[in-house]
Subunit: 227 residues, 2 copies
């Protein structure tokens, strides 16, 4: 698919780092739109649309507030700048702890990758159990990018059980029951991104998927050999 | 083993709920002591001794601070009182959310059980890899209660791998790498208590051990059947 790619005016202080572009199909009629594929979810499930946009384009927030915890959320492509350039935006990386720096840098991704991640997540959401049905134009758009959509076929990246769209609504203290996940290795691009149950994501922790599967396989072997 | 069981004077506001008693062997010489089995760890690894005492006798703290989050930590046997009695101690259960109440009540345990839990945890700690060697009198005391001690034989309750005493030192933001765990069902008594890796405890989450093993077994089956 060829995108329109016209530059969309932005007042963001970070606009000079990466232009915001139109991702309607080239030659489209009507207004330019950075996230045309999210328009239907924006109307039917705005919190899900916001989550997709946020997870696709922003780093995750610091788990606690303190001087050295780093920014709560920042555009992923801003984190591709080097330390000197970041200083111009008021972010002094030298004040952060090595672990925080590594975490922020790991989440860096270029603008185009982030847009495709958002589209891929949208494609996955529409294939969850109990998901709304996409309008034909959005279905066509997403299938052109990522292939045919099969209702109910989106699995948790980690436990491989079907994900239910209704889990987006179950939130405990701001924590959704479905989280955006990265497969192994943890790079932020459309191939590598998916959704997982929150409990699965927590269980996986810092392990890669392969490490996680080996780990739990070892547990099962020890448990079965003893009892 | 028969304990001395003499009452030890206490200034705690909760002393009238349960007497603090001496758990030296009956007929002992020297001063009475509520936790005689912890004396050696108190000298060689005070933070571990404190952790054992705390986890054995106190409820865990609320994860966040707010009016309805409940007390940060409270003696487990205090949580056995009914709501009216708790009100006398300034704890208004009716102000707490049902989930918080359930969590607090689940952690209730009588004084004698808590003491035996502390002794059992001490017995387990001495059998961890790289643990200090207990003096003969404490070894005798603990073996009389729970059986022969085999150095290096204490396993993580969850993943069944040996636990290393040195993991007590690895703490990230106050979180020890070894946590006190309860087997299935989650009752606070000497039979049911053990240690686990923090990452294992997190992975287990709210599941019972049986549920956890079934869950990860299902994951392994799905992963293996697909690849």
């Amino acid at each position: 698919m060829n995108f329109c790619n016209k530059i969309i005016a932005s007042k963001s202080q970070y606009a000079e780092i990466a232009d915001h572009k139109c991702h309607c199909i080239k030659g489209h009629t009507g207004k330019c739109n950075e996230f045309p594929f999210l328009e239907h979810l924006k109307a039917t499930a705005p919190s899900v649309a916001n989550k997709i946009k946020r997870d696709a384009t922003m780093t995750t927030g610091a788990a606690w507030k303190s001087e050295d915890a780093g920014p709560n959320r920042i555009l992923r492509w801003v984190m591709m700048l080097d330390d000197d350039e970041l200083l111009k935006y008021g972010l002094d990386m030298s004040k952060l702890k090595p672990g925080v720096i590594a975490k922020l840098r790991e989440k860096a991704a270029d603008y185009d990758s982030c847009i495709l991640v958002a589209a891929k997540l949208t494609w996955l959401v529409y294939q969850m159990e109990n998901a709304p049905t996409p309008p034909q134009d959005i279905k066509f758009y997403l299938e052109d990018l990522f292939g045919e959509m099969k209702p109910g076929s989106t699995l948790c990246v980690i436990c491989r059980l079907p994900l239910n769209f209704k889990l987006f609504e179950l939130a405990a203290r701001g924590k959704a029951a479905i989280e955006t996940c990265h497969k192994n290795p943890r790079m932020h691009n459309a191939d590598n991104v998916g959704f997982g149950h929150r409990e699965c994501n927590i269980a996986q922790g810092n392990k890669s998927l392969d490490e996680f599967y080996s780990w739990i396989e070892g547990i099962i072997e020890r448990v079965n050999s003893k009892s």
